[in-house]
């Protein structure tokens, strides 16, 4: 890893002595997880807690004619069997639309289906019992009479007149359409030396968090208050929505979120079964636990990426890209997900295609259609892998067409590093990106020329290896432009409160959340560095709406950039407040003092003046000894949201080195490289591991992962043996490098790093496979790249 700060012209609060910023330090409190002593919601038990199991529809589309719950109610251990109609008296339905996505429509969705089911897996009844096993036993005795309806499953025919309309009130199956045009596209294509087209197909896949979605909802009838323990990325969003639909005020709902077994965007949504669990707790006046089992997870956790995208690129002989055009189609299931909607992914595809390049001519259409499959919505790197695969696939095809090296064509077209700020043809504003520095660096890291020589040499022996390059841009630090402007009560600002305790340690309350990314660590690093205390004296509290400031949580790579800046600003205030008190005690001026390693010192020579422990003792226990008129404030709160740029774009490039067994169609991942620019790096190890983890999720998409539906809308591989996730045996080592262009929107300068790995991995691998297969004159634009797909392309079968 090497980092170069590109604007080191001034020392900031981060450059203080003993700063933790830019240093690899272990995350605090990992021992809890290493010893199996974490607090996951699936571990939680409360007095009188009952377990809910949802009976789920076996049909993709059916009318519910009758539900006979009587036999199930008689079974041992059963507390209640509740249908959608009954639950509707407790919780109101919702519609997943946002006003800034013009034309987006969806139908009201209920916590439990009322009258009709629209996908295989939609809940039709809740069985609450003293144990999960007893509830499952009883579920087998709930008799549901269905009248099967014709299912609309294929996105390609969803808009055909012959296809049944899933929600008659909406008039058609089109949820959303966006058309965008910039520059002079037709003219650009006409003036190109070549125009290349391809159809890109992406497998529908899902997040597969290792801990399934889990909720324990507990209604205290005496307090009229609901406590929701949930593995969520956005506690305040859950609080607001639960309150809204249960007819409560926000203050009547507390959301507590301790350890979370993986999220990746899966746990940033509001699911019908979670809403039903909240409602059941209120209805039954007791704690109710819902832990999705793995089959339910596959059938109900949001899916993503199911896109078919026609792409077109114009190219001149000198390598200049003249235009991009796409026509994207995606099927999102029967409802737009709540509250973030299911139009965001396609919208992102339109935003991001062509993003790294200086080309100005761009035409895009995206259509989002309803279908009788599980819902799709935002999953890690929303839309990025599709946009990157289409863009980088087209760029490689153009390079092949004119006989240019893939690195060279990128050099000639990537936006120049000194061209910022600038705006993309899709309207995105870039503050400062570093495509060329990144490309130069990755070419060095991988020793590109040596790999090309090795490739040529091995090809003579019938060994087919390939190199794939993929440049990308990444959306991070979202402002209100993402959701808030569309009317969603999803906070884009975050808050941090820091407080000096009575022994000179710091309690820090933050509204961002932790699912393993290192939110706790980066917060402690910032607080410790800015204040001048050691990290072991900083305790970070997250995930409790009763305790933390109000904020968005952790999603869209916002924790470090937004929550981190709030921590920085709050700590600056606390630091000044401490120095003011210290100055009063020491009869000095605050400017003469500093805090270093838990002690107030003379700024000039570092002489210890007063220990924070002693200062806190005086403030809390002997305020009578302070000079008159001094009221110490040893707690400070600050909030932050980016205002100038709607998003902090980052950029990077990935490279894959693969070997294709042309006899079997198997792909071996030999090595993978990433260079990424997330601005200020708070903890290099955590950034690198975000990127590696993200890359492997992208490699899963490239080679393995796909939700396989039959034409009747049945998910046929809803288990972990048949849905293939990446495992250690097939994954390569991944080298990560950095270029550092801090954002000037914040003093911290940090942008996000959580999406980068996933954004470009599949594109790099697909390009590498096509590169390996160059001698066979075949191009594959479909992922996952299964042996069946590759052998078919090679015409071996």
């Amino acid at each position: 890893m090497s980092s170069i700060r590109t604007n080191p012209e001034r020392l900031s609060v981060l450059d203080r002595p003993n700063s933790y910023i830019g240093k690899t330090v272990p995350r605090p409190n990992l021992d809890r997880l290493l010893q199996g002593r974490g607090s996951y919601v699936s571990d939680l038990e409360l007095p009188r807690m009952a377990h809910v199991v949802f009976l789920r529809s076996p049909h993709a589309h059916a009318k519910i004619v009758n539900i006979d719950v009587a036999p199930a109610k008689q079974m041992s251990g059963v507390i209640a069997v509740v249908t959608g109609e009954e639950l509707a008296a407790v919780i109101t339905p919702w519609v997943g639309v946002l006003s800034h996505l013009k034309g987006l429509k969806s139908a009201p969705q209920s916590a439990i289906a009322v009258g009709r089911v629209c996908w295989q897996g939609e809940a039709v009844a809740a069985i609450v019992a003293t144990s999960r096993a007893a509830a499952e036993d009883a579920a087998e005795h709930v008799a549901v009479q269905y009248e099967e309806l014709e299912a609309a499953t294929d996105m390609r025919t969803a808009l055909d007149p012959a296809t049944p309309i899933i929600h008659a009130s909406l008039g058609d199956n089109l949820a959303f359409e966006r058309i965008h045009e910039a520059g002079a596209v037709d003219q650009a294509f006409a003036e190109s030396d070549a125009v290349v087209e391809a159809d890109f197909v992406f497998g529908r896949h899902t997040g597969v968090t290792l801990e399934p979605r889990s909720v324990v909802a507990s209604w205290n009838a005496a307090e009229a208050r609901l406590t929701i323990h949930q593995g969520t990325q956005a506690p305040h969003m859950v609080q607001n929505i639960a309150a809204l639909h249960l007819g409560l005020r926000d203050s009547q709902v507390r959301v507590v979120c301790k350890d979370v077994g993986g999220s990746f965007g899966i746990k940033v949504h509001i699911y019908a079964d979670e809403m039903a669990t909240y409602a059941l707790a209120k209805m039954l006046r007791r704690p109710v636990k819902f832990v999705a089992d793995r089959v339910e997870s596959f059938n109900t956790d949001i899916h993503a990426r199911d896109h078919r995208c026609k792409g077109k690129i114009g190219i001149k002989r000198d390598g200049t890209i003249t235009a991009f055009e796409i026509d994207d189609l995606t099927g999102i299931g029967p409802y737009s997900m709540y509250p973030r909607t299911s139009a965001i992914e396609a919208n992102q595809v339109v935003n991001l295609v062509g993003g790294p390049y200086s080309n100005k001519n761009y035409r895009a259409r995206a259509r989002v259609v309803f279908q009788n499959k599980n819902v799709m919505c935002q999953y890690r790197a929303v839309g990025h892998p599709i946009a990157c695969s289409v863009t980088e696939g087209l760029v490689d095809l153009a390079a092949l067409e004119i006989g240019m090296d893939p690195v060279e064509i990128r050099r000639r077209n990537l936006i120049a590093d000194d061209a910022y700020p600038c705006t993309s043809p899709s309207g995105l504003r870039f503050e400062q990106l570093s495509h060329h520095a990144s490309l130069t660096k990755i070419v060095e890291m991988m020793d590109y020329q040596a790999l090309r020589s090795e490739q040529a040499r091995l090809r003579k022996d019938g060994i087919f290896r390939g190199i794939g390059i993929a440049s990308f841009i990444e959306v991070t630090n979202p402002s209100a432009a993402f959701y808030g402007v569309g009317g969603a009560r999803i906070s884009s600002q975050d808050g941090v409160a820091v407080r000096l305790d009575a022994q000179g340690s710091v309690i820090c309350l933050t509204s961002i959340t932790e699912q393993g990314q290192g939110s706790e660590s980066l917060t402690a690093q910032i607080v410790g560095s800015v204040l001048g205390v050691s990290m072991d004296r900083v305790r970070v509290v997250l995930g409790d709406t009763d305790m933390t400031p109000y904020g968005g949580g952790t999603w869209a790579s916002r924790g470090a950039g937004i929550g981190g800046e709030a921590a920085l600003q709050a700590t600056k205030v606390l630091r000044q407040n401490i120095l003011d008190v210290a100055a009063a005690i020491l009869q000095a001026s605050p400017a003469e003092l500093d805090i270093v390693n838990n002690v107030v010192v003379s700024a000039s020579d570092g002489t210890p003046r007063i220990d924070l422990n002693e200062l806190a003792r005086i403030v809390y226990f002997r305020p009578d000894t302070l000079p008159p008129g001094i009221q110490p404030e040893l707690m400070a709160t600050r909030h932050f949201v980016p205002r100038e740029y709607p998003f902090a774009f980052t950029n990077g490039v990935q490279a894959a080195w693969v070997e294709v067994d042309t006899d079997t169609g198997f792909v071996k991942l030999l090595r993978h490289w990433v260079v990424e620019d997330c601005g200020t790096i708070i903890n290099p190890q955590l950034v690198d591991e975000q990127i590696r983890g993200g890359v492997v999720q992208g490699l899963g998409a490239a080679l393995f992962e796909k939700c396989i539906y039959d034409d009747r809308g049945q998910l046929t591989n809803a288990n972990m043996a048949d849905y293939l996730v990446p495992m250690s045996g097939e994954m390569p080592d991944i080298d990560v490098g950095h270029v550092v262009s801090p954002t000037r929107e914040s003093e911290l300068g940090a942008k996000g790093a959580g999406e980068a790995g996933t954004a470009g991995a599949a594109a790099a691998v697909t390009n590498a496979v096509n590169d390996a297969l160059t001698p066979f004159e075949t191009i594959i634009t479909e992922i996952p790249l299964t042996p069946q797909v590759i052998l078919t392309a090679l015409k071996k079968i």
Binding site: A133, E136, E140, V295, D663, M727, P787, L791
Partner: protein, 293 residues
């Protein structure tokens, strides 16, 4: 995802197990290592009324050499096979195959008897039994009987075992000191069920096969002992002959379609395996380069 309720009986002897099976018949399932049965029960794909746990029957565990026969007790675990020097010496193909079965934690519980009785057509051990000419030793109400592996497997999860029967052991001829073996499978990920696999054993005389047995798995509803082996026995294998044998192999296989592969792909992979097997056993890399693929 919790198993349905069932009654549990811990067998105290083989005789006791047979009594329990005789009483409960089709309502009962035998629990050996449980690595196939318990997931199916957790998923409620099966819901036996009675579980007869034979796990404590020491008499069914162990590997012994009796003259020219290797006897492997039904409860012998995959991990035991992998660590056994007798297996390496007397049935090296089996040692090679077992390394491909799932993962260490599964191999510590899964048993050879359980795997054979489960008769998953994609699993390794049934094919090895065909290749090695094993006899499956079964005890039932009528006493003990031996069933040739080629007769034992009847379809997907189907064998000659009746509900009252207990698979107690397998018997294998000790491998000839001059024999060679080849094992390869194509699985998407390490430890996954194979898309197609081949367990082969041969006796070489000079540059020819005196004997050759090719046990394919994951190419249909049961493991297949390929008759195409006959074309390659007793003659010098040329690329042309290999192509002919491969065509014969394609003709005799009747592969299934699933999420991983079409029948055409399975036939193709079976041919690739044959080519690789020949190149390996005969030490003839020339057969692989520009082969029949």
């Amino acid at each position: 995802m919790k198993a349905s309720a069932f009654a549990y009986a811990r067998a105290t002897s083989v005789a006791n197990a047979l009594e329990l099976l005789a009483v409960h018949g089709e309502k009962a399932r035998v629990l050996s290592g449980g690595q196939s049965l318990i997931p199916a029960m957790n998923l409620r794909l099966v819901a036996p009324e009675v579980i007869v746990d034979i796990g404590g029957l020491a008499e069914l565990r162990g590997i012994v050499i009796e003259g020219e026969t290797l006897v492997i007790g039904a409860l012998t675990r995959h991990a035991d096979l992998l660590k056994s020097s007798d297996i390496v010496k007397c049935a090296p193909l089996l040692a090679a195959a077992v390394a491909h079965i799932a993962h260490p934690a599964i191999r510590n519980r899964g048993t050879i008897g359980g795997s054979l009785a489960q008769a998953d057509p994609a699993s390794e051990l049934p094919a090895c039994m065909l290749t090695l000419g094993a006899s499956i030793v079964v005890r039932g109400p009528g006493g003990e009987r031996r069933i040739a592996a080629e007769e034992f497997f009847r379809g997907i999860y189907e064998t000659q075992l009746a509900p009252q029967d207990l698979l107690v052991a397998v018997e294998l001829p000790v491998a000839d000191s001059g024999s060679a073996h080849f094992f390869q499978e194509f699985a998407r990920r390490h430890g996954d069920y194979a898309i197609t696999g081949l367990a082969a054993q041969a006796v070489l005389e000079g540059d020819r096969f005196a004997a050759l047995r090719l046990g394919y798995f994951a190419v249909g509803d049961r493991p297949v002992l390929a008759e195409a082996a006959g074309k390659l026995t007793g003659v010098t294998v040329t690329p042309a002959l290999l192509a002919e044998a491969s065509d014969a192999l394609s003709d005799e296989l009747d592969p299934h379609e699933d999420q991983q592969a079409t029948p055409a792909m399975r036939r193709h992979l079976a041919r690739i395996l044959l080519t690789r097997c020949m190149a390996s056993l005969l030490k003839r890399p020339d057969l692989q380069i520009g082969g029949v693929a």
